[in-house]
Each structure stands twice: as structure tokens, then as C-alpha cells.
Amino acid sequence: MKYELSPLGDSAVIVQLGRVISEETHHAVRNVTDYLQDNPIDGMVDYVPAFSSVTIFYIPMEVIQGHSYSKIASPYEIVCEQLKERFDNITFTKRKESRTVEIPVCYEGEFGADLQIVADHNQISVEEVIDIHTSGEYLVYMLGFAPGFPYLGGMSEKIATPRKETPRTSIPAGSVGIAGSQTGIYPIETPGGWQLIGQTPSILFDIEKDPPTLLEPGDTIRFYSISLSEFKNMKEEQG
């Protein structure tokens, strides 16, 4: 497995693991983050996995502690050395264990406000849009944009639809949308330009939980259709 290291300013390093969005690169990203979780480098405060990279944040002063401090000591160089040592020990494998998370979605009424737009754009029926959306398996590549917001791969091009020209100023938490050939779920209320096709009663972000998000990078998710009354029941069960 190849990688490239480059600085993001004076307190972070980007490990580039590929140039395209692919499942193979995603597995490399997960191998690196799993390894870092168990074998952190000196002074590391955070790491952020993305589609084809992992960024590691560190405190330069902590990195050089324990190393003979001189005018030429470069925290970045020490970090790179430590990373190279670690990466020599990683065997890059396709991970076998992967969670599958089932996400109930109500596509009815206001929840599916833009279903007709998606259907018209792709010259299919609303029912077909729902069928296609619920028959796919989606891979969580990364979380970002909002807490717990999943960047998903695997949506069928048959329901790909451009974003709204004017974004909505407020989209309720749990809204399921389509933007280009991506699909995703808004975990918290936020403005946004995605075409809304449904809403899930599942809670994607909860500060009381550890981790605070329902989904994690590497999860596989499936959507299944529920009725409005099922949606209401699930909401009530959550209290």
C-alpha cells in the first residue's frame, strides 16, 4: 500500500492513501485509523479520516518533548518518522467485519417533498425512486459537514438529481436527501440544498452517547420504507 505524507500547516499532517474514491482506498483509510487508535503518535490530539486520506493533528511542543530540543528540531519531521515506523507494521487488508445498520425511512407526504422532482428528473415513477433507494447498500465513507452526517457511496445513478438551485433555510433533523449521485441524512436541523425524499425517525447524533453518532465510517447501511404511522410510533418510543 502506497501513501504520501504532507503537512497541513505546522500542527497537522495529511496521509494521502489514494487519488480516487474507492472501496479499496476506504479500507486503507480504515486500516490506518484503526492502527492509530491503538498506537497513537506522540502529541496526537485528533485524527480525521476522509475519502482517501487521514489527517493527524498534533501539538508540536508535545512532539518534541523527549527529543533533544535544538533549533533544527522539526516536530513535523519527528511525526513523519513515527508514522513511517507505524506504517511499516500495518498489513493492509480488506476488513471483514463490517456493521450493517438498517435505517427506516418514511417517504410519505411532506417528508418526501422532492420525490416528484427526483422522479421527473430521471423519468421514472415515485414508487420506482423509493424502490431503487431502498434496494441499495451504501457504504459510509466518512462523517462530516454536520455531526454524524454520513458521506455515502453506492447510490444508483438512476435516481441521481442535481441539488436545489436555492437551498432551504431549514431542513429538519432526520431528513433523507439526494444531491447529484449522493444520498445522505441530515442529523441535525440545518440549511441545505439537497432534494428531500424522506425522513427517518432514527437519531443520528446524540451527545449522551459514546460515540455520539449512530453511524461510523466503514458501516454499511440499508434504507427500508415505513408508513407514517410506523414513523410516529418509532418517534413515540424514543420519548
Partner: protein, 330 residues
């Protein structure tokens, strides 16, 4: 501490929320890390206690019990019971005293640090207010009139400073020792911001690289804790290549297709997909945080290694200040 008038978006912040960016949870935290950190050192706080961050217009606050405070960051014309007070030093304040802010005289962000810190629940390792997700700080929101803030337990160091100053009939006593307010090392020009070339620096045309380093950029009013947007010469890449989103950080300078640079700040998203022309050197973050709309800056290119050395020097200066205060209190 009781909030009498709220000021402009006054929030509780600490250094920030680390370890949760992989879940899409933003770092948050103070805009001016240096002012916040020096403030904590001046009142004897051990570690990273939460302070109040105010922008342009500070609040009016009544102290309900005796306190040891410091005011750092921009000059927002603070007064205690109507008398002006100095920044960058510990101040003993008697119960009943009212802290009030006036016009913004220089900089734009002020910090009020209290011995013991502002006591709000720690959520995911931080007391910082995350406004959009409505958690952290005081009920996840900016302060309002009538809010009452609890103050945490004073450290031994804080008690020593407190005891040194707490002999008075006056509403407050300022310490005669203080910290320098200028931590920008040799770079004293407030409007020169140093940067390291960003990941996509070489994707920009030579002309754009030249314009970025040789012309002025003006901060626009469309700027907030998430990012500072600048107006200036249009910056262009040689080719419009679609990018794959990756992590960004404080001080990352992105250029969207319309060609104006944006410096990402405390409330930035965890990842971004715009080309990064530059990364502001950490040593100048404090300067950036104190810029206000309408001000003009120049960006000065330095090497990665220079940025590291400047940061380590600044760090050593701060440690010297800490040691100096400890010696004074022995």
C-alpha cells in the same frame, strides 16, 4: 456572575473539542487561543478553563461573589463600576462590582477569564459552545440577560494571587505585574499575516500566487467564527480539477471558484473540498482572530520550518511567563 446585558453573541469557550472530528463534530473553541491561554495563566488556572468570548461589543456583568479575573484580547473598553480597567493582568473584584464594556477600541475579540474557570458541563471533553448543534457552553447558546454563571474551584496558584490582591475597600484592585500584550514575536505589523503554501498552492497560476502575496485583501462583513471571507484580486487555478474532500484546520485558506480567499476558523467544518492556497502559520492565529470587517491585510509567505520555529519560540515565551509568575508567588 450574573449577566445584566448580553452584548453581541457572547459565548463560553475553551481550547476546543478534540477527538470527535471523525464524527463530524467541529472543534469549536476560542478564536484567539493566545489571549484565552494567557488569561488563564494570569488568574492562576491550571490547564484549560473556560472563558467568556465576546466580539465587538461585550456584556454587562455583575459579580455576585469576590472573584479574580483577567481581561485579554482586543480592547473593548472595559470598566468596573465605571472606572476603566487595564487588560493583560490579574484583577481582584469584590462582590457587587459591575463589569461593563464600551466601544471596540482595538482588535475585536475580548476574553474574560475567571480564577476557577466558568463552570458549565463538559461535553465530549470540552466546555465550548457549539451554537449550530445547540450544545456545550451555557445551554448550547449565546448568553442572555439574567443568565447566572457558576465559577469553578480556585487552584492553589489562583488562591495565592487572590490573597495578594484582596486587601482593599475599593471595588477592585489591579495587579502591578502583567503580561505583554504583543505575542506576535518580531512580526508586530497587525496587518501582515504569515502563511505556509497550502496543499494546492502549485495548482494556482503564477499570477494568482503573485497576487496573493503582493496585493491587499479586505475582510468582508460576511465573516464569522466559521470563516473570514476576503475581497481582493481574483485567484485562479490553472485547471479546474474536482477535489476529494479532506480534513481542514484552523487557518486553512480555501479559494472557492469565485476566486476570493476564505480563512477557516474555530467553527469550521471538519472537512472541505475547495483548493487550499495557503495555511496561516499558527503563530499568527491570534492576529487573524482580532481582525475586523473592513480591515486590510497582506499575506506573507514563509517556510514550513520557519512556521514551526516561530511557534516553538512563542511557546517558550509563554512557558517563561508561567515560570515568572510562579517565582513571583513563592
Amino acid at each position: 456572575m450574573k449577566i445584566i446585558k448580553p452584548g453581541l453573541q457572547v459565548t463560553i469557550q475553551d481550547t476546543g473539542r478534540f477527538g470527535y472530528q471523525r464524527y463530524g463534530v467541529i472543534v469549536n473553541g476560542v478564536m484567539d487561543q493566545l489571549a484565552h491561554r494567557i488569561g488563564n495563566i494570569l488568574v492562576g488556572n491550571i490547564g484549560d478553563e473556560a472563558s467568556l468570548e465576546m466580539t465587538m461589543k461585550g456584556p454587562e456583568i455583575e459579580f455576585e461573589e469576590d472573584a479574580l479575573i483577567s481581561l485579554t484580547g482586543g480592547d473593548l473598553s472595559a470598566t468596573l463600576n465605571g472606572q476603566s480597567v487595564k487588560r493583560w493582568r490579574p484583577i481582584y473584584v469584590k462582590a457587587g462590582t459591575v463589569l461593563k464594556y464600551g466601544a471596540c477600541a482595538s482588535g475585536c475579540r475580548g476574553y474574560l477569564t475567571v480564577a476557577g474557570g466558568i463552570d458549565v458541563p463538559v461535553i465530549m471533553g470540552s466546555r465550548s459552545t457549539y451554537l449550530r448543534a445547540e450544545f456545550g457552553g451555557y445551554e448550547g447558546r449565546a448568553l442572555k440577560s439574567g443568565d447566572q454563571l457558576k465559577i469553578g474551584k480556585r487552584s492553589d496558584q489562583s488562591k495565592k494571587i487572590f490573597d495578594q490582591l484582596a486587601h482593599t475597600d475599593q471595588p477592585f484592585v489591579e495587579s502591578d505585574w502583567f503580561s505583554a500584550s504583543d505575542w506576535g514575536s518580531e512580526n508586530t505589523d497587525q496587518h501582515v499575516i504569515r502563511f505556509i503554501p497550502g496543499r494546492e498552492w502549485s495548482d494556482f497560476t503564477e499570477e494568482s500566487q503573485r497576487l496573493f502575496t503582493e496585493t491587499e485583501f479586505q475582510l468582508t462583513p460576511q465573516s464569522d467564527r466559521m470563516g473570514y471571507r476576503f475581497n481582493g484580486e481574483r485567484l485562479e487555478r490553472s485547471e479546474q480539477v474536482e477535489m476529494i474532500s479532506e480534513a481542514v484546520t484552523f487557518g486553512t485558506v480555501q479559494v472557492p471558484s469565485e476566486g476570493n480567499p476564505i480563512i477557516l476558523l474555530a467553527d469550521r467544518q471538519t472537512a472541505g473540498g475547495y483548493p487550499k492556497i495557503a495555511q496561516i502559520a499558527s503563530v499568527d492565529f491570534s492576529k487573524v482572530a482580532q481582525l475586523k470587517p473592513g480591515e486590510k491585510v497582506r499575506f506573507k509567505k514563509i517556510t514550513h520550518q520557519e512556521a514551526e520555529q516561530l511557534l516553538l519560540e512563542q511557546e517558550q515565551n509563554i512557558q517563561q511567563l508561567e515560570q515568572g509568575i510562579s517565582l513571583k508567588l513563592r
